[in-house]
Symmetry: C2
Subunit: 195 residues, 2 copies
């Protein structure tokens, strides 16, 4: 995957959007907030984007591809890659700016039924994320490191589990990420990892 | 649990709120929309509630308790109760008004980090839901129908799995509820159900 396929000039705009999203959340965010984070001229921003929604759609695409690229380079073995996935998506602690970004992204996701470009992006994210998890599991099975499982079914479980835990973390004060990671680790040990 | 603990008069208001939420979604909903669904006077509504947010908080409490009450009466055996849980939370098809309600609830949930009464309610929902699932699993273990599992850990997995699948269903066009249910059924067969 080529993370630069956004085109020249866009990457800096997307990064400015991410910083603005962290600061202001989703609902209150204006193009002006994004322009404030952007070193170059506001007209350049308008040249590339006609509104908030297409900007956010590109932000989603950009961060997802960057994350999945990183994931595939993150470890020598399929097990290391899955462990990295859990560490990145369910870290023990979240820094404040990352927490704000996750909150903003949950809000954005809740708008999927109303905004077509978000629906396209989240469908693509779901497809790519599940596909990457399935590929890693397949590699593990082929390398004789994982049980000989139904890779499609295991990817379905893992993607939903992580998704559910991340939402609960943001929306429930009784959720314990330590307990969740322990449950997830037990799940992986039993379902996938050999020895 | 007593589902009527909302107090007299409130139940009809909550049901009007639910109908209004189905029709108008979360963001655009006004007290007037709710009053339009309510047979009695608007002043009665204001007598009980000072705004949208406390109304939604009571709606969340009311529907959750009703659901959990129903769940515990839904089957003779713990296995029947868990199967009922999956049928109710991940039905093969969703009627249009229920779909609209789920979309509105996802939007409401995304507001948890900004609205204290939602945070309280979703924390309580998470606590009650996980507690009920854990109780059912405990019953299954005690009755010798389930494997002798760590009930806390199993409840953590099941609640997160269902949560993740419900969010993905609303936000990804490639999500297949049939595949998800198959994966969930396989998960329950291996982790819990004996024979």
């Amino acid at each position: 995957m080529d993370t630069n396929e956004l085109g020249p000039g866009k990457e800096e705009i997307i990064e400015a959007t991410y910083r603005a999203l962290n600061k202001h959340g989703y609902s209150d965010l204006t193009i002006q907030h994004i322009a404030d984070e952007f070193d170059k001229s506001k007209s350049l921003l308008y040249y590339h984007y006609d509104g908030k929604e297409t900007l956010f759609a590109d932000l989603l695409q950009y961060t997802t591809r960057k994350f999945l690229d990183e994931l595939q380079r993150s470890g020598e073995t399929p097990k290391e890659q899955l462990d990295h996935l859990v560490d990145r998506l369910l870290p023990e602690t979240i820094e404040e700016d990352r927490y704000s970004a996750q909150v903003a992204l949950l809000e954005l996701r809740s708008q999927v039924p109303y905004v077509d470009v978000y629906a396209e992006q989240y469908t693509e994210i779901d497809r790519l994320f599940k596909g990457t998890v399935r590929d890693i599991i397949e590699d593990g099975v082929e390398a004789g490191q994982f049980h000989d499982v139904d890779t499609e079914l295991e990817a379905e479980l893992l993607v939903s589990l992580i998704n559910g835990m991340r939402t609960r973390r943001l929306t429930s004060d009784v959720f314990s990420v330590t307990d969740a990671r322990e449950a997830l680790s037990d799940h992986l040990d039993r379902r996938l990892y050999l020895e």
